[in-house]
Protein backbone atom coordinates (compact mmCIF):
# COMPACT_ATOMS: atom_id res chain seq x y z
CA UNK A 1 0.00 0.00 0.00
CA UNK A 2 2.83 2.29 0.91
CA UNK A 3 4.23 2.02 -2.54
CA UNK A 4 0.98 3.27 -4.06
CA UNK A 5 1.03 6.34 -1.82
CA UNK A 6 4.63 6.87 -2.84
CA UNK A 7 3.80 6.57 -6.51
CA UNK A 8 1.01 9.10 -6.39
CA UNK A 9 3.29 11.60 -4.68
CA UNK A 10 5.07 12.27 -7.93
CA UNK A 11 3.37 14.49 -10.44
CA UNK A 12 4.89 12.63 -13.41
CA UNK A 13 3.69 9.28 -12.06
CA UNK A 14 0.12 10.52 -11.69
CA UNK A 15 0.27 11.76 -15.26
CA UNK A 16 1.75 8.50 -16.53
CA UNK A 17 -0.77 6.38 -14.65
CA UNK A 18 -3.88 8.26 -15.82
CA UNK A 19 -2.74 8.34 -19.43
CA UNK A 20 -1.54 4.74 -19.25
CA UNK A 21 -4.83 3.48 -17.84
CA UNK A 22 -6.81 5.22 -20.56
CA UNK A 23 -4.52 3.93 -23.28
CA UNK A 24 -4.76 0.39 -21.88
CA UNK A 25 -8.54 0.73 -21.94
CA UNK A 26 -8.60 1.90 -25.58
CA UNK A 27 -6.08 -0.68 -26.72
CA UNK A 28 -7.95 -3.57 -25.15
CA UNK A 29 -11.28 -2.47 -26.66
CA UNK A 30 -9.87 -2.16 -30.16
CA UNK A 31 -7.60 -5.16 -29.82
CA UNK A 32 -10.47 -7.66 -29.84
CA UNK A 33 -11.58 -6.54 -33.29
CA UNK A 34 -8.04 -6.22 -34.60
CA UNK A 35 -7.16 -9.76 -33.53
CA UNK A 36 -10.42 -11.27 -34.82
CA UNK A 37 -10.15 -9.47 -38.13
CA UNK A 38 -6.60 -10.85 -38.47
CA UNK A 39 -5.19 -7.33 -38.34
CA UNK A 40 -3.02 -7.89 -35.25
CA UNK A 41 0.16 -6.81 -36.98
CA UNK A 42 -1.28 -3.51 -38.15
CA UNK A 43 -0.73 -2.15 -34.65
CA UNK A 44 2.91 -3.05 -35.01
CA UNK A 45 3.15 -1.38 -38.40
CA UNK A 46 1.48 1.74 -37.03
CA UNK A 47 3.85 2.03 -34.11
CA UNK A 48 6.85 1.97 -36.41
CA UNK A 49 5.30 4.63 -38.61
CA UNK A 50 4.63 6.58 -35.43
CA UNK A 51 8.30 6.23 -34.53
CA UNK A 52 9.36 7.75 -37.84
CA UNK A 53 6.80 10.53 -37.43
CA UNK A 54 8.00 11.35 -33.90
CA UNK A 55 11.58 11.45 -35.12
CA UNK A 56 10.62 13.79 -37.94
CA UNK A 57 8.61 16.01 -35.60
CA UNK A 58 11.49 16.23 -33.15
CA UNK A 59 13.93 17.09 -35.92
CA UNK A 60 11.63 19.81 -37.24
CA UNK A 61 10.79 21.08 -33.78
CA UNK A 62 7.02 20.55 -34.12
CA UNK A 63 4.75 19.18 -31.38
CA UNK A 64 5.05 15.38 -31.79
CA UNK A 65 1.36 14.43 -31.51
CA UNK A 66 0.37 16.91 -34.22
CA UNK A 67 2.58 15.10 -36.72
CA UNK A 68 2.27 11.53 -35.55
CA UNK A 69 -1.53 11.30 -35.38
CA UNK A 70 -2.34 12.32 -38.98
CA UNK A 71 0.60 10.32 -40.34
CA UNK A 72 -0.50 7.19 -38.48
CA UNK A 73 -4.13 7.58 -39.54
CA UNK A 74 -3.00 7.81 -43.15
CA UNK A 75 -0.78 4.75 -42.67
CA UNK A 76 -3.63 2.80 -41.11
CA UNK A 77 -5.87 3.45 -44.12
CA UNK A 78 -3.07 2.55 -46.47
CA UNK A 79 -2.40 -0.76 -44.74
CA UNK A 80 -6.10 -1.68 -44.65
CA UNK A 81 -6.43 -0.86 -48.33
CA UNK A 82 -3.34 -2.75 -49.38
CA UNK A 83 -4.13 -5.86 -47.37
CA UNK A 84 -7.65 -5.94 -48.82
CA UNK A 85 -7.04 -5.25 -52.47
CA UNK A 86 -3.56 -5.78 -53.59
CA UNK A 87 -1.52 -8.78 -54.55
CA UNK A 88 0.81 -8.09 -51.65
CA UNK A 89 -0.29 -10.18 -48.70
CA UNK A 90 -1.25 -8.35 -45.52
CA UNK A 91 1.63 -9.65 -43.45
CA UNK A 92 4.16 -8.80 -46.14
CA UNK A 93 2.75 -5.28 -46.34
CA UNK A 94 3.11 -4.77 -42.63
CA UNK A 95 6.66 -6.14 -42.67
CA UNK A 96 7.61 -3.65 -45.37
CA UNK A 97 5.95 -0.76 -43.56
CA UNK A 98 7.59 -1.73 -40.25
CA UNK A 99 11.16 -1.96 -41.40
CA UNK A 100 10.79 0.89 -43.89
CA UNK A 101 9.44 3.29 -41.28
CA UNK A 102 12.00 2.18 -38.71
CA UNK A 103 14.82 2.82 -41.15
CA UNK A 104 13.47 6.24 -42.09
CA UNK A 105 13.06 7.15 -38.42
CA UNK A 106 16.60 6.12 -37.56
CA UNK A 107 17.98 8.01 -40.55
CA UNK A 108 16.18 11.19 -39.50
CA UNK A 109 17.42 10.89 -35.94
CA UNK A 110 21.00 10.21 -36.89
CA UNK A 111 21.04 13.16 -39.26
CA UNK A 112 19.49 15.57 -36.76
CA UNK A 113 20.29 14.94 -33.13
CA UNK A 114 22.40 11.83 -33.52
CA UNK A 115 21.72 8.45 -31.97
CA UNK A 116 21.21 9.14 -28.29
CA UNK A 117 18.81 8.54 -25.42
CA UNK A 118 15.96 9.90 -27.58
CA UNK A 119 16.10 6.81 -29.74
CA UNK A 120 16.06 4.62 -26.71
CA UNK A 121 13.02 6.47 -25.39
CA UNK A 122 11.12 6.20 -28.65
CA UNK A 123 11.88 2.51 -28.98
CA UNK A 124 11.19 1.34 -25.46
CA UNK A 125 9.17 4.18 -24.06
CA UNK A 126 9.61 6.46 -21.11
CA UNK A 127 7.11 7.73 -18.60
CA UNK A 128 9.13 10.90 -18.29
CA UNK A 129 8.52 11.86 -21.88
CA UNK A 130 4.96 13.08 -21.27
CA UNK A 131 4.62 16.84 -20.85
CA UNK A 132 1.58 18.22 -19.04
CA UNK A 133 0.10 19.38 -22.34
CA UNK A 134 0.71 15.99 -23.99
CA UNK A 135 -0.95 14.27 -21.08
CA UNK A 136 -4.02 16.45 -21.38
CA UNK A 137 -4.32 15.87 -25.13
CA UNK A 138 -3.78 12.14 -24.62
CA UNK A 139 -6.52 11.95 -22.00
CA UNK A 140 -9.02 13.81 -24.15
CA UNK A 141 -8.24 11.72 -27.23
CA UNK A 142 -8.47 8.43 -25.40
CA UNK A 143 -11.81 9.37 -23.88
CA UNK A 144 -13.05 10.18 -27.39
CA UNK A 145 -11.79 6.78 -28.59
CA UNK A 146 -13.67 4.99 -25.81
CA UNK A 147 -16.88 6.93 -26.46
CA UNK A 148 -16.77 6.28 -30.21
CA UNK A 149 -16.13 2.60 -29.57
CA UNK A 150 -19.17 2.38 -27.33
CA UNK A 151 -21.38 4.25 -29.79
CA UNK A 152 -20.30 2.03 -32.70
CA UNK A 153 -20.08 -1.17 -30.64
CA UNK A 154 -22.85 -3.01 -32.51
CA UNK A 155 -21.56 -1.97 -35.91
CA UNK A 156 -18.00 -2.90 -35.04
CA UNK A 157 -19.21 -6.33 -33.95
CA UNK A 158 -21.05 -6.77 -37.25
CA UNK A 159 -18.11 -5.86 -39.48
CA UNK A 160 -15.79 -7.98 -37.36
CA UNK A 161 -17.95 -11.09 -37.35
CA UNK A 162 -19.06 -11.04 -40.96
CA UNK A 163 -18.13 -8.11 -43.13
CA UNK A 164 -19.84 -9.44 -46.25
CA UNK A 165 -23.13 -9.94 -44.46
CA UNK A 166 -22.96 -6.47 -42.95
CA UNK A 167 -22.19 -4.91 -46.32
CA UNK A 168 -24.85 -6.95 -48.13
CA UNK A 169 -27.58 -5.97 -45.71
CA UNK A 170 -26.88 -2.27 -45.92
CA UNK A 171 -24.26 -1.49 -43.26
CA UNK A 172 -21.45 0.76 -44.45
CA UNK A 173 -18.68 -1.71 -43.68
CA UNK A 174 -15.98 0.44 -45.27
CA UNK A 175 -16.87 3.34 -42.99
CA UNK A 176 -16.66 1.24 -39.83
CA UNK A 177 -13.40 -0.40 -40.91
CA UNK A 178 -12.11 3.13 -41.40
CA UNK A 179 -13.30 4.16 -37.95
CA UNK A 180 -11.55 1.13 -36.46
CA UNK A 181 -8.36 2.10 -38.29
CA UNK A 182 -8.51 5.71 -37.10
CA UNK A 183 -9.21 4.76 -33.49
CA UNK A 184 -6.36 2.25 -33.53
CA UNK A 185 -3.96 4.76 -35.04
CA UNK A 186 -4.83 7.35 -32.39
CA UNK A 187 -4.43 4.79 -29.60
CA UNK A 188 -1.05 3.64 -30.90
CA UNK A 189 0.27 7.19 -31.12
CA UNK A 190 -0.89 8.15 -27.64
CA UNK A 191 0.43 4.95 -26.14
CA UNK A 192 3.72 4.54 -27.93
CA UNK A 193 5.69 7.20 -26.09
CA UNK A 194 5.09 5.59 -22.77
CA UNK A 195 5.15 1.98 -23.96
CA UNK A 196 7.68 2.41 -26.75
CA UNK A 197 7.31 1.83 -30.46
CA UNK A 198 8.43 -1.77 -30.14
CA UNK A 199 6.04 -2.65 -27.35
CA UNK A 200 2.79 -0.73 -27.91
CA UNK A 201 1.25 -3.30 -30.24
CA UNK A 202 1.42 -5.89 -27.48
CA UNK A 203 -0.96 -3.70 -25.49
CA UNK A 204 -3.46 -4.17 -28.30
CA UNK A 205 -2.95 -7.88 -28.86
CA UNK A 206 -2.26 -9.45 -25.44
CA UNK A 207 -5.39 -8.58 -23.42
CA UNK A 208 -7.79 -9.70 -26.14
CA UNK A 209 -5.89 -12.92 -26.77
CA UNK A 210 -5.87 -13.66 -23.05
CA UNK A 211 -9.57 -13.03 -22.64
CA UNK A 212 -10.41 -15.11 -25.72
CA UNK A 213 -8.80 -18.08 -23.99
CA UNK A 214 -11.39 -17.97 -21.23
CA UNK A 215 -14.49 -16.20 -22.63
CA UNK A 216 -16.83 -17.30 -25.36
CA UNK A 217 -19.15 -14.37 -25.80
CA UNK A 218 -18.09 -11.20 -27.61
CA UNK A 219 -19.29 -8.85 -24.91
CA UNK A 220 -17.59 -10.90 -22.20
CA UNK A 221 -14.38 -10.97 -24.24
CA UNK A 222 -14.46 -7.17 -24.48
CA UNK A 223 -15.18 -6.68 -20.78
CA UNK A 224 -12.58 -9.16 -19.55
CA UNK A 225 -10.05 -7.82 -22.00
CA UNK A 226 -10.50 -4.33 -20.50
CA UNK A 227 -10.12 -5.70 -16.98
CA UNK A 228 -7.01 -7.69 -17.87
CA UNK A 229 -5.45 -4.73 -19.64
CA UNK A 230 -6.07 -2.27 -16.81
CA UNK A 231 -4.90 -4.68 -14.12
CA UNK A 232 -1.76 -5.60 -16.06
CA UNK A 233 -0.96 -1.95 -16.56
CA UNK A 234 -1.24 -1.25 -12.83
CA UNK A 235 0.94 -4.26 -11.98
CA UNK A 236 3.49 -3.29 -14.60
CA UNK A 237 3.72 0.36 -13.60
CA UNK A 238 4.00 -0.54 -9.92
CA UNK A 239 6.81 -2.99 -10.59
CA UNK A 240 8.47 -0.43 -12.81
CA UNK A 241 8.30 2.17 -10.03
CA UNK A 242 9.47 -0.17 -7.29
CA UNK A 243 12.28 -1.89 -9.18
CA UNK A 244 13.16 0.92 -11.61
CA UNK A 245 12.47 -1.25 -14.63
CA UNK A 246 11.23 0.30 -17.91
CA UNK A 247 7.46 0.86 -17.73
CA UNK A 248 6.59 -0.52 -21.15
CA UNK A 249 8.51 -3.74 -20.72
CA UNK A 250 7.10 -4.28 -17.22
CA UNK A 251 3.52 -3.92 -18.49
CA UNK A 252 4.18 -6.31 -21.36
CA UNK A 253 5.68 -8.87 -18.96
CA UNK A 254 2.60 -8.64 -16.75
CA UNK A 255 0.47 -9.24 -19.83
CA UNK A 256 2.60 -12.19 -20.83
CA UNK A 257 2.13 -13.85 -17.45
CA UNK A 258 -1.63 -13.28 -17.54
CA UNK A 259 -1.74 -14.71 -21.06
CA UNK A 260 0.04 -17.85 -19.85
CA UNK A 261 -2.40 -18.22 -16.95
CA UNK A 262 -5.44 -17.69 -19.22
CA UNK A 263 -4.13 -20.22 -21.75
CA UNK A 264 -3.72 -22.74 -18.98
CA UNK A 265 -7.25 -22.12 -17.68
CA UNK A 266 -8.60 -22.32 -21.24
CA UNK A 267 -6.83 -25.62 -21.87
CA UNK A 268 -8.09 -27.12 -18.61
CA UNK A 269 -11.63 -25.93 -19.32
CA UNK A 270 -11.45 -27.42 -22.80
CA UNK A 271 -10.36 -30.76 -21.43
CA UNK A 272 -13.11 -30.80 -18.80
CA UNK A 273 -15.62 -29.76 -21.48
CA UNK A 274 -14.63 -32.66 -23.71
CA UNK A 275 -14.96 -35.20 -20.93
CA UNK A 276 -18.40 -33.95 -19.90
Amino acid sequence: MEIFADMFNYQFMVRAITVGLLVSLCASLLGVSMVLKRYSMIGDGLSHVGFAALAAAAAAGIAPLKVAIPVCIAAAFLMLRISENSKLKGDATVAIVCSGALAIGVMIISMSSGMNTDVNNYMFGSILSLSAEDALVSRILSIIVVLLFVVFYNRIFAVTFDENFARATGTKAGLYNGILAVLTAVTVVIGMRMMGALLISSLIIFPSLSSMRICKRYRMVIISSVIISVVCFMIGITVSFAKSTPAGASVVCANLIVFAICSLIGALKGRVGKKA
Binding site: K37, N154, A158, D162, R167, T169, T171, R217, Y218, M220
Partner: protein
Protein backbone atom coordinates in the same frame (compact mmCIF):
# COMPACT_ATOMS: atom_id res chain seq x y z
CA UNK B 1 -42.64 -4.51 -61.73
CA UNK B 2 -40.24 -7.34 -60.93
CA UNK B 3 -38.44 -7.42 -57.59
CA UNK B 4 -35.09 -8.18 -59.24
CA UNK B 5 -34.28 -7.83 -62.89
CA UNK B 6 -31.07 -8.67 -64.74
CA UNK B 7 -30.90 -7.29 -68.25
CA UNK B 8 -27.99 -8.60 -70.30
CA UNK B 9 -25.44 -8.41 -67.53
CA UNK B 10 -21.96 -9.91 -67.62
CA UNK B 11 -20.10 -11.06 -64.53
CA UNK B 12 -16.50 -11.90 -63.79
CA UNK B 13 -13.44 -10.84 -61.92
CA UNK B 14 -9.98 -9.56 -62.67
CA UNK B 15 -10.97 -8.84 -66.23
CA UNK B 16 -12.14 -12.40 -66.92
CA UNK B 17 -15.76 -12.85 -67.88
CA UNK B 18 -17.42 -15.92 -66.42
CA UNK B 19 -21.06 -15.18 -67.18
CA UNK B 20 -22.21 -13.43 -70.32
CA UNK B 21 -25.54 -11.90 -71.29
CA UNK B 22 -27.49 -13.07 -68.30
CA UNK B 23 -31.20 -12.30 -68.30
CA UNK B 24 -33.75 -13.08 -65.67
CA UNK B 25 -36.36 -11.42 -63.53
CA UNK B 26 -38.02 -12.45 -60.34
CA UNK B 27 -41.30 -11.37 -58.79
CA UNK B 28 -42.17 -11.12 -55.11
CA UNK B 29 -42.89 -14.46 -53.42
CA UNK B 30 -41.06 -16.63 -55.94
CA UNK B 31 -38.43 -19.25 -55.08
CA UNK B 32 -35.42 -19.26 -57.39
CA UNK B 33 -32.76 -21.94 -57.34
CA UNK B 34 -29.46 -21.18 -59.02
CA UNK B 35 -27.80 -24.41 -60.12
CA UNK B 36 -24.80 -25.25 -62.26
CA UNK B 37 -21.27 -26.52 -62.33
CA UNK B 38 -18.53 -25.35 -60.02
CA UNK B 39 -16.99 -22.16 -61.28
CA UNK B 40 -20.01 -21.29 -63.40
CA UNK B 41 -20.50 -18.14 -61.37
CA UNK B 42 -23.27 -19.00 -58.91
CA UNK B 43 -21.69 -17.36 -55.88
CA UNK B 44 -20.48 -14.45 -57.99
CA UNK B 45 -24.04 -13.84 -59.14
CA UNK B 46 -25.30 -13.87 -55.53
CA UNK B 47 -22.58 -11.40 -54.52
CA UNK B 48 -23.48 -9.17 -57.44
CA UNK B 49 -27.16 -9.16 -56.54
CA UNK B 50 -26.14 -8.20 -53.01
CA UNK B 51 -24.01 -5.35 -54.28
CA UNK B 52 -20.75 -6.86 -52.97
CA UNK B 53 -19.40 -7.01 -56.53
CA UNK B 54 -20.02 -4.86 -59.54
CA UNK B 55 -21.15 -6.50 -62.78
CA UNK B 56 -18.71 -6.09 -65.69
CA UNK B 57 -21.50 -5.00 -67.96
CA UNK B 58 -25.04 -3.85 -67.26
CA UNK B 59 -26.70 -3.45 -63.90
CA UNK B 60 -29.07 -5.39 -61.70
CA UNK B 61 -32.27 -3.47 -61.22
CA UNK B 62 -34.36 -3.77 -58.14
CA UNK B 63 -38.00 -2.92 -58.46
CA UNK B 64 -41.04 -2.58 -56.27
CA UNK B 65 -39.17 -0.20 -53.96
CA UNK B 66 -36.89 -2.94 -52.69
CA UNK B 67 -34.26 -1.38 -50.44
CA UNK B 68 -30.84 -2.75 -49.54
CA UNK B 69 -31.96 -2.85 -45.92
CA UNK B 70 -34.78 -5.25 -46.78
CA UNK B 71 -32.53 -8.02 -48.02
CA UNK B 72 -31.34 -10.95 -45.93
CA UNK B 73 -28.26 -12.98 -46.74
CA UNK B 74 -27.03 -16.33 -45.55
CA UNK B 75 -23.43 -16.70 -46.69
CA UNK B 76 -21.24 -19.76 -46.59
CA UNK B 77 -19.40 -19.92 -43.29
CA UNK B 78 -15.98 -18.32 -43.24
CA UNK B 79 -12.81 -19.62 -41.60
CA UNK B 80 -12.68 -16.65 -39.26
CA UNK B 81 -16.02 -17.66 -37.74
CA UNK B 82 -14.70 -21.04 -36.66
CA UNK B 83 -13.06 -19.65 -33.53
CA UNK B 84 -14.97 -16.38 -33.17
CA UNK B 85 -16.16 -15.76 -29.63
CA UNK B 86 -19.81 -14.77 -29.99
CA UNK B 87 -23.07 -16.02 -28.54
CA UNK B 88 -25.98 -17.08 -30.72
CA UNK B 89 -27.91 -14.04 -29.53
CA UNK B 90 -25.08 -11.67 -30.46
CA UNK B 91 -24.84 -13.15 -33.94
CA UNK B 92 -28.57 -13.04 -34.60
CA UNK B 93 -29.12 -9.51 -33.32
CA UNK B 94 -26.43 -8.24 -35.67
CA UNK B 95 -29.00 -8.94 -38.39
CA UNK B 96 -31.15 -6.18 -36.93
CA UNK B 97 -28.48 -3.57 -37.60
CA UNK B 98 -30.08 -2.44 -40.84
CA UNK B 99 -33.29 -1.44 -39.11
CA UNK B 100 -31.39 0.63 -36.56
CA UNK B 101 -31.01 3.74 -38.71
CA UNK B 102 -28.91 6.29 -36.84
CA UNK B 103 -29.53 4.81 -33.39
CA UNK B 104 -26.43 3.34 -31.74
CA UNK B 105 -28.08 0.63 -29.63
CA UNK B 106 -30.71 -2.06 -30.01
CA UNK B 107 -34.08 -1.47 -28.43
CA UNK B 108 -36.89 -3.62 -27.12
CA UNK B 109 -38.33 -4.25 -30.59
CA UNK B 110 -35.02 -5.54 -31.89
CA UNK B 111 -34.70 -7.92 -28.97
CA UNK B 112 -38.26 -9.16 -29.40
CA UNK B 113 -37.65 -9.77 -33.10
CA UNK B 114 -34.52 -11.80 -32.31
CA UNK B 115 -36.49 -14.01 -29.92
CA UNK B 116 -39.20 -14.43 -32.58
CA UNK B 117 -36.69 -15.56 -35.17
CA UNK B 118 -34.92 -17.88 -32.72
CA UNK B 119 -38.24 -19.54 -31.91
CA UNK B 120 -39.10 -19.77 -35.61
CA UNK B 121 -35.84 -21.64 -36.15
CA UNK B 122 -36.42 -23.78 -33.07
CA UNK B 123 -33.21 -22.65 -31.40
CA UNK B 124 -34.45 -20.36 -28.63
CA UNK B 125 -32.79 -22.68 -26.12
CA UNK B 126 -29.38 -22.04 -27.70
CA UNK B 127 -29.60 -18.28 -27.18
CA UNK B 128 -26.61 -18.00 -24.84
CA UNK B 129 -24.50 -20.75 -26.36
CA UNK B 130 -21.23 -19.96 -28.09
CA UNK B 131 -21.63 -19.93 -31.87
CA UNK B 132 -18.55 -22.00 -32.67
CA UNK B 133 -19.50 -24.77 -30.24
CA UNK B 134 -22.68 -25.57 -32.19
CA UNK B 135 -23.22 -28.41 -34.65
CA UNK B 136 -23.26 -27.68 -38.39
CA UNK B 137 -27.05 -27.74 -38.59
CA UNK B 138 -27.45 -25.48 -35.57
CA UNK B 139 -24.97 -22.98 -36.97
CA UNK B 140 -26.89 -22.80 -40.23
CA UNK B 141 -30.11 -22.15 -38.32
CA UNK B 142 -28.42 -19.33 -36.46
CA UNK B 143 -27.22 -17.77 -39.71
CA UNK B 144 -30.69 -18.21 -41.18
CA UNK B 145 -32.21 -16.53 -38.13
CA UNK B 146 -29.78 -13.63 -38.57
CA UNK B 147 -30.70 -13.36 -42.26
CA UNK B 148 -34.39 -13.38 -41.28
CA UNK B 149 -33.76 -10.51 -38.85
CA UNK B 150 -32.26 -8.52 -41.69
CA UNK B 151 -34.97 -9.14 -44.27
CA UNK B 152 -38.53 -8.22 -44.85
CA UNK B 153 -38.87 -9.25 -48.48
CA UNK B 154 -35.94 -11.06 -50.05
CA UNK B 155 -33.48 -13.63 -48.77
CA UNK B 156 -30.40 -14.98 -50.56
CA UNK B 157 -28.92 -18.29 -49.48
CA UNK B 158 -25.53 -19.51 -50.64
CA UNK B 159 -25.46 -23.32 -50.42
CA UNK B 160 -27.31 -23.43 -47.12
CA UNK B 161 -27.16 -27.21 -46.70
CA UNK B 162 -23.48 -27.70 -47.59
CA UNK B 163 -21.95 -30.20 -45.19
CA UNK B 164 -25.17 -31.05 -43.33
CA UNK B 165 -26.44 -34.54 -42.60
CA UNK B 166 -29.73 -35.65 -44.26
CA UNK B 167 -31.92 -34.89 -41.25
CA UNK B 168 -30.52 -31.40 -40.72
CA UNK B 169 -30.74 -30.79 -44.48
CA UNK B 170 -34.42 -31.71 -44.58
CA UNK B 171 -35.19 -29.55 -41.56
CA UNK B 172 -33.46 -26.57 -43.11
CA UNK B 173 -35.35 -26.99 -46.41
CA UNK B 174 -38.62 -27.13 -44.49
CA UNK B 175 -37.75 -23.89 -42.70
CA UNK B 176 -36.88 -22.18 -45.97
CA UNK B 177 -40.13 -23.36 -47.53
CA UNK B 178 -42.03 -22.03 -44.55
CA UNK B 179 -40.33 -18.64 -44.92
CA UNK B 180 -41.27 -18.56 -48.58
CA UNK B 181 -44.82 -19.91 -48.42
CA UNK B 182 -46.12 -18.60 -45.12
CA UNK B 183 -44.24 -15.34 -44.79
CA UNK B 184 -44.19 -14.55 -48.51
CA UNK B 185 -40.46 -13.81 -48.59
CA UNK B 186 -38.79 -14.20 -51.97
CA UNK B 187 -36.01 -16.80 -51.90
CA UNK B 188 -32.91 -16.98 -54.07
CA UNK B 189 -30.83 -20.06 -53.30
CA UNK B 190 -27.62 -21.48 -54.70
CA UNK B 191 -27.82 -25.23 -54.55
CA UNK B 192 -26.03 -28.42 -55.51
CA UNK B 193 -28.93 -30.60 -54.52
CA UNK B 194 -30.89 -31.78 -57.57
CA UNK B 195 -33.75 -33.38 -55.73
CA UNK B 196 -34.47 -30.44 -53.45
CA UNK B 197 -34.16 -27.97 -56.31
CA UNK B 198 -36.81 -29.76 -58.32
CA UNK B 199 -39.01 -30.15 -55.26
CA UNK B 200 -39.05 -26.64 -53.81
CA UNK B 201 -38.13 -24.10 -56.49
CA UNK B 202 -40.67 -22.18 -58.51
CA UNK B 203 -38.01 -20.91 -60.92
CA UNK B 204 -34.66 -22.24 -61.97
CA UNK B 205 -31.54 -20.54 -63.25
CA UNK B 206 -29.14 -23.09 -64.70
CA UNK B 207 -25.65 -21.77 -65.34
CA UNK B 208 -23.02 -23.48 -67.40
CA UNK B 209 -20.06 -22.21 -69.33
CA UNK B 210 -21.72 -22.21 -72.71
CA UNK B 211 -25.41 -21.93 -71.95
CA UNK B 212 -27.76 -20.26 -69.52
CA UNK B 213 -31.29 -21.42 -68.83
CA UNK B 214 -33.89 -19.41 -66.95
CA UNK B 215 -37.51 -20.33 -66.55
CA UNK B 216 -40.13 -21.86 -64.32
CA UNK B 217 -39.57 -25.30 -62.93
CA UNK B 218 -41.97 -26.89 -65.44
CA UNK B 219 -40.26 -25.25 -68.39
CA UNK B 220 -36.95 -26.46 -67.02
CA UNK B 221 -38.14 -30.05 -66.60
CA UNK B 222 -39.04 -30.15 -70.29
CA UNK B 223 -35.88 -28.48 -71.52
CA UNK B 224 -32.76 -30.29 -72.65
CA UNK B 225 -30.76 -28.91 -69.70
CA UNK B 226 -33.46 -29.92 -67.28
CA UNK B 227 -33.73 -33.49 -68.47
CA UNK B 228 -29.97 -33.95 -68.22
CA UNK B 229 -30.00 -32.21 -64.83
CA UNK B 230 -32.73 -34.44 -63.38
CA UNK B 231 -30.84 -37.58 -64.32
CA UNK B 232 -27.89 -36.58 -62.22
CA UNK B 233 -28.02 -36.79 -58.45
CA UNK B 234 -25.63 -33.94 -57.82
CA UNK B 235 -24.46 -31.10 -59.95
Amino acid sequence: MALIKCDNISLGYEGRTILKDLNFSLDGGEYLCIVGENGAGKSTLIKTILGLKKPMKGAIETGDNLKRTEIGYMPQQTDAQKDFPASVYEVVISGRLNSLGMKPFFGRRDKADVMDKLRLMGIANLKNKCFHDLSGGQKQRVLLARAMCATKRLILLDEPVAGLDPVATQELYDLIEQINKQMGITVIMVSHDTEATLKYASHILHLSHDKIFFGTKDEFMHSEDGIRFAQRKEV
